[in-house]
Amino acid sequence: MATIETTPGRNPGWAGGGTWGEVTDAPIGFGHMKRKEDARFIRGLGDYMDDVRLPGMLHSAILRSPYAHATINSIDTSAALAHPKVAAVVIAKDLETLGLAWMPTISYDTQAVLAGDKVRFHLQEVAFVIATDAYAAQDALQLIEVDYDVLPAVVNCRKALDPDAPLIRDDKVGQVDNLASPLWEAGDKATCDRVFAEADVVAIRTVLDPRSHPCPMETCGMVADMNPATGQLNIYNGNQAPHAHRTVYAQVAGLPEQNIRILCNDIGGGFGNKVPVYPGYVCAIAGSIVAGAPVKWIEDRSENLASTGFARDYLMYSEMCSKGGKITGLRVDAIADHGAFDSTAQATKFPAGFFHIVTGSYDLQGAHCQVKAVYTNKAPGGVAYRCSFRITEAVYLVERMVDALAMEMRTDPVDLRMRSFIRSDQFPYESATGWVYDSGDYHKAMKLALEMADYDGLRREQQEKLAKGELMGIGISFFTEGVGAGPRRHMDILGLAMNDGAELRVHPSGKAVVSISAQTQGQGHETTFAQIVAEELGISPNHIMVRHGDTDKTPYGLGTYGSRSTPVSGGAVAVVSRKVRDKARQFAALMLESRAEDLAWEKGRWFVRGDPERGATIERIAEYAYSATNLPEGLEGGLDANAVYDPPNLTYPFGAYIAVVDVDPGTGKVHMRRFIAVDDCGVRINPLVVEGQIHGGLVEGIGQALMEIISFDESGNCMNASFMDYLLPTALECPEHGFELGETVTPCPHHPIGAKGVGESPCVGSPPCIANAVVDALYHAKGIKYMDIPCFPARVWAAMNGNAQPPQ
């Protein structure tokens, strides 16, 4: 009988055989490698948020507002407190005594932890119930009486700045309107105006990238455990930036930072949703202080969808122009809807994130964009959902506009792109809005995608179908991202430089532990970061443990979002590995009785140049480094190092995507037939993991393009607060025979291993591609030139009949 431990290549970590998490056939370095972390997950032995159990732990639930905007006259908690299983009920005035009624957001705004005098969005947090079990906590919610006076709600971002709009943030001194942050702009307006004045053709569209939600399968949650005797606060919380969270909690709660420990175990997906600090977290901490026991708070799906970090919600008035058959200019005036509190996740000096990368992959002569942010009576947020700080919105805008312009020019959207791309000989390339793109070969990637798709054949098929009354659409997008924030001279969050640390210790046996500040939510860090060390030191990745998720045991850094892990944390791991390698060289010189400068490195060993037989493996060197040997002055024992990586620039991954859809002319239903994705993310550490990331991001793109939206009724009620109405794609909405992936490799010139990051690319590139495909079908059949996403059947049908619904 074939058992797993005796079947080559089939040993995903076997306690009875090799080492837990050991993967057979692992490459010593980069290459296809099955994941080490699978060993626990396929056995159901992951350790997620709701799996945390502490002695004496209490449970909790949050009472939420049924109104989008209302004053709170009174809250009566007496009946809830009388419930036999209720330990405490916390409301805003209790938090005031702890100084926790308001918390700072990631964007220097404030957010109510629990609503005090007023609620400002539907399902805002109002009261926090702590009970001995979760069912009882929910029972007690129904016993709390809140007396509200309903106020008119601001739901439409365009009306937020009307003179008669109700003032949402009357809590803020000096706030007289609903402007959340001042007008922010990039690009030279005068140049842009001149380019437009000289243009042949101008396309004008109002483009809405609607509110969606990252929606990880595991919701958010926390167990807070404050030890009243020692003042030690242990926080169990799956979040994407544990070190930054610790600093924020130290600021919010006024607790000494060294007394706070954040433990992130396994995280069931993040996608940007687990970057911010949420009111529920602060409630759990306050609850633990009040109740004197550990308090668990786990949000349900409705709470996750209706109150935690949403994404997008950018309304963009846009103009793009061409001259001589090339795209020459772009002008964008955007409104960002941040909801009731500005907790948008951005690098601090960039209130609109990296939106100004909006010129995309094109060599434009002029561009100008401006963004103003408004408050509305909607859930707060604006997180970077699988996105490098609003790059998704920028790519969405530019790729929709290129198609719009191609229609006005009556030219093929591929030809227009090919004529307008930044050429490979132009890199490094400074864009019209000030970005310095590191490297690329856009024509090559586009050509590969066209070949894979048989683009000309598809266009012929489209014509044949059209003759039979069938609607088929071919969509193109070509994206350039800027990821891996970022250089400390430019970028910070709340004053914290966006760098990441790494510590590497090679043990006497030659086995290693690398500690990192990035935080996996499923990206496979335990495998790929081990592969980076393996590549640099020649140790099997099976012998390298990647430690993360414990602020007491890992170096400081800003975490995992914005495709930062490989560009920043991966850089740190490569650098620290090289430091260890350099230190190993010193030991090798002693061992080999040679001069360090006379040694040469090959993967896994130092040897004497010109005499390759005389060498020492990294294992032997490690043993030597810890042995009781006399060492010369200046050389410390042990084989370890640490590093903080400050990236010199962002990295600029790019890709060419083609979508093929069929549209039912009778019902407007879109069928996703094929999707071709050529990605260039520089050097690929583990192709298996990279392709997995691309698959996942593409499906999130399908969701945004075809079915996902967080919408509100006129009163501000969230209409998509459950999986009944917030629709994630199933396997059936994806191309039946799978995605078609291709790659080109343009190594990043400034990154230690030439990698650029890939996690977000597919989710950035695919929404405009699919939207363009749907419109392409309608354009060729009926001359329809534009519709917004999501392409629900009803909306497609309306567009098909010339009644595309404009943004609210």
Binding site: A134, Y135, Q138, D139, Q142, I298, D300, R301, S302, D664, G666, T667, G668, K669, M707, S711, M719, N720, D725, L727, P729, T730, L732, E733, F792, P793, A794, R795, W797, A798
Partner: protein, 291 residues
């Protein structure tokens, strides 16, 4: 996760025992079968029964699909998967059951969800109800003392989430008349696989000697209950099947339905789709019937 409010639980040992329990509990109890409608409602605390009576132990009594004379009888506890895979149903009513069941929720729900649960939920967007309405099925309700009454679907479905099943009654069986020369089809447009219909249309035809001898047309999600398109049925019976005729029936369905605008689409869209799907379903039903 959201959780149900406190409630009591008991199991039924027979249909009559379940009814006796309903009687004893005086209107505070609900019958619990597959659970895929009732339990989510309880978790959201939209349904708060004080007591649930589990009838899953009644498989042998209530899970069956059998032919008796000119009728097919389907027990209330027959699971969706049983109807999806029933050779008898696909033989007697080709395509219509299988097509509706194949798009009803998802395979895991279909493993447990039941005929009785689907009908008693009285969700106007539900697929199986459309099939039963189109086939002019009847519901057998049993009450205290074994008293049974048989009601048509118009009488059974009173409105959204409302049926004529009395607090001490239980749906035990659905009876559907058979026809020779039968063909059926179910057409659905949804936002995503597993979602309730934006609009669905079920068509049932019997064609003999080139004439339509029986016609049933039902549209889902375009009214307070699954709608019977009577005008279309009258127009069909006695006629020779033709695409023109089916297109006219589609127009009747579009005209006679009464959809609401909601997150799935505006009323005018749903009206249009009701027409398109009715025409398509009739056309395919006719093709099956004459083949």
């Amino acid at each position: 996760m959201q959780t149900p409010a406190p409630c009591e639980y008991s199991r039924a040992t027979s249909v009559d025992d379940a009814i006796a329990q309903l009687q004893a509990l005086g209107g505070n109890a609900r019958i619990l079968a597959g659970g895929y409608s009732l339990i989510p409602m309880m978790k959201l605390r939209l349904a708060n029964p004080g007591h649930v009576i589990d009838i899953n132990p009644l498989e042998s009594e209530l899970n069956y699909i059998r032919q008796e004379g000119n009728e097919i009888r389907i027990g209330a506890l027959t699971r969706h998967v049983n109807m999806l895979e029933s050779d008898l149903l696909s033989q007697v009513f080709p395509h219509i059951f299988r097509e509706a069941e194949a798009v009803l929720a998802d395979p895991v729900v279909r493993n447990r969800g039941t005929m009785g649960g689907s009908l008693c939920q009285s969700d106007p967007a539900e697929d199986l109800s459309g099939v039963v309405v189109a086939l002019k099925g009847e519901a057998v309700l049993r009450g205290p003392g074994g008293a049974e009454r048989v009601v048509g679907m118009e009488e059974f479905h009173l409105g959204p989430y409302m049926t004529s099943v009395q607090p001490t009654e239980m749906l035990i069986e659905v009876r559907i008349p058979t026809h020779s020369g039968f063909g059926g089809a179910h057409e659905k447009v949804e936002r995503r696989a597993g979602d309730f219909a934006i609009v669905a249309a079920s068509a049932a035809l019997a064609i003999e000697g080139g004439r339509i001898t029986f016609a049933g047309v039902a549209c889902s999600a375009v009214g307070p209950t699954t709608l019977h398109i009577e005008r279309a049925e009258k127009a069909l019976v006695g006629q020779a099947p033709s695409e023109d005729l089916f297109a006219q029936c589609g127009q009747m369905a579009a005209a006679d339905c009464s959809p609401n605008s909601d997150g799935r689409g505006p009323a005018d869209y749903k009206r249009h789709v009701a027409g398109v799907l009715t025409t398509r379903a009739l056309s395919r039903a006719a093709a099956t019937a004459v083949s």
